[in-house]
Amino acid sequence: MTTATIDKAAPTRTVKYGSMSRDRAWALRWSYFFLVIFAIFFLTPPIYMFITSLKSSAEISAATNPWWVFHPTLENYTGLLTSNQFLRFFWNSAIVSIFVVTITMLIAVPAAFALSRMRFWGSATLATGVFLTYLIPETLLFIPLFKMFAVVGDWTGVQLINRWYVLLILYPTLTVPFCTWIMIGYFASIPKELDEAAIIDGASWFQTLTRIFIPVALPGLIAATIFAFTVSWAQFLYPLVFTTSTDQLVMPVGIITTLIKGDVFNWGQIMTGALLGAAPPLIIYAFLMDYYIAGLTAGATKG
């Protein structure tokens, strides 16, 4: 009887299997098609930037094939890397980003822990509220914020505008809500019994957070870190509005304001600066991606 069922089932299963794998093959083909299109679409600008960065100003303005370098030169790179001004921008960017990432994590992780685990009155509403603040675009905020800082400066004498550290207040308004939201998601996926076990083992809330939640939710923490770093590295509007002196500028604004003089665009250096500026996030991705392994919670519980 058993053999009969197997015999009967076998042909149908093969047919089904075949059709399924044909579906899969088509799905794969389409995925590759779109992936290639996306890759071309997104890689073209950096490649063009790279090509341009190897050209001299004369070659850029000459009417040659823009996709080919006839006289490659590193003068744009040496020019920028020996320019104190450019190094200053780079340094400002790095300092701001590192501080912002630190501040963001120090606020977002405990906030997410509290919102996801300590059930207090209104915690659910607050969690949604946190996310909603992220949806307000900075274009809507920069004028009122500028006014606020100006007033604060008038009243207290603490000068915030045109100081790089004003960005340490501004960027977290973008990064904290989103990172909190990411971390709430990760913390929520940790089974409730895990913190109960920790509490019974004698851990305080703080120890539960640092010794259980943070290690278990490490992939989420890394995702949030990458996000916070990317946002603060690439942020353009706030530094453009709030900082003006060249020694206070971060890189995106610095490149624009110093390499464009009137209607003279120093394209070679702009492209080089942009490429060099893109390097740190890339390096950070490469490093952290190794740790960004999902499924760290596997084995905690049955499921």
């Binding site: 895990l194 920790a198 509490i199 004698g202 010794r211 278990v216 760290l296 596997a298 084995g299 049955k302």
Partner: protein
């Protein structure tokens, strides 16, 4: 080690009363099992003892001290969860020692305790593995090890075996019993499996709808259930209930099941049930093992009758038979050689010395 006492403990969640006033005294070293159907409030009771849930009303005492407002970590209890709740980023040894490390025990002491627990649970070669490299049964052992190394006053288990397959469950059940015999820590164990309850417990607490139905040793519950709920919950296959009335026939008290079937009660039973009004609607409770094939020489109190079997289930060492009496399905256990066949008549005997009589309306065993 310590005793645990619950005094009129109540738990309310907004609208629902999950636990409705529980009184329970658990002696030092005792192994008490809370058993009952899903949603009857077992876990809630256990979690209140642990301190993971606030008590809405009443008192909980551990070792004589009221712990109503004592946080879990200061109650000196250890808990084993249904899904193990191992810390996934720590090795087995780290999992087991986490509590001790938080309390800053000396390293040597921690090591010796972990080693001892690992030896007791037979997981010595696993101590450097992470939870995800363990099987379900091994994880369960680690979870128990985490409780043992703490050497707490009370162990709390919440359905620790329900995620394991049947065979492993039996094995771990024995393991838990062995551990308890060794460490003798007061234990409260929650399960919905009455076999687990019967085999593990010194005393079983049967719960239903947030109340305690009965407390007793496994044998007491089995042989002297207080209510229909307990009678039907404990034992497998479950006790049979057949509608009946009491009747005086020829000067002797009889229990009448159908127009044709009425059994004379043995003297001890007759004396006990004498005062019950003859018009009361009653249930005759009989365990399957007290319905067998009729023997040639009937013992006192064993009465024979004929039945037509609906279904038979050969189990090897015995055959389960099912037939219908007064609309109630009745299960009996007969010798495999008794000749029981589907749809065939068979002469059966009931052992009325082990009968129960219940009030059909209140479900109370009389």
């Amino acid at each position: 080690m310590a005793d645990v006492t619950l005094r009129k403990v109540v738990k309310r969640y907004d609208e629902v009363e999950a636990v409705r006033g529980i009184d329970l005294d658990i002696a030092d070293h005792e192994f008490v099992v809370l058993v009952g159907p899903s949603g009857c409030g077992k876990s809630t009771t256990l979690r209140m003892i642990a301190g993971l849930e606030d008590i809405s009303d009443g008192d909980i005492m551990i070792g004589g001290d009221v712990v109503n407002d004592v946080p879990p970590k200061d109650r000196d209890i250890a808990m084993v969860f249904q899904n193990y709740a191992l810390y996934p980023h720590m090795t087995v040894a780290e999992n087991m020692s986490f509590g001790l490390r938080l309390k800053r025990y000396p390293k040597a002491e921690i090591k010796s305790r972990v080693d001892e627990a690992a030896r007791m649970l037979d997981i010595v070669e696993l101590v450097d593995r992470k939870p995800k490299q363990l099987s379900g049964g091994q994880r369960q052992r680690v979870a128990m090890g985490r409780a043992i190394v703490r050497n707490p006053k009370v162990f709390l288990f919440d359905e620790p075996l329900s995620n394991l397959d049947a065979k492993l469950r039996v094995q771990m059940r024995i393991e838990i019993k062995k551990v308890h015999q060794k460490v003798r820590t007061t234990t409260v164990y929650v399960t919905h499996d009455q076999v687990e309850a019967m085999t593990l417990a010194d005393r079983v607490v049967v719960m239903n709808h947030g109340r305690i139905e009965q407390i007793g040793t496994p044998n007491e519950l089995y042989h002297k259930p207080a209510t229909k709920f307990v009678a039907s919950f404990i034992g497998s296959p479950a006790m049979n209930f057949v509608p009946c009335r009491l009747e005086d026939l020829a000067g002797k008290l009889h229990v009448r099941l159908t127009d044709r079937i009425a059994f004379p009660l043995p003297p001890a039973r007759a004396a006990r049930y004498q005062g019950i009004p003859r018009t009361d609607k009653l249930l005759l409770g009989l365990r399957p093992e007290h319905i067998t094939e009729a023997k040639p020489h009937a013992e006192p109190g064993v009465e024979a009758f004929d039945a037509v079997l609906d279904v038979t289930e050969p189990m090897g060492m015995e055959t389960l038979i099912y037939f219908t009496l007064e609309g109630a399905q009745v299960c009996g256990r007969v010798n495999p050689n008794a000749g029981a066949q589907d749809g065939a008549p068979l002469r059966l005997a009931v052992d009325l010395n082990n009968m129960h009589l219940l009030n059909e309306v209140t479900g109370v065993v009389l």
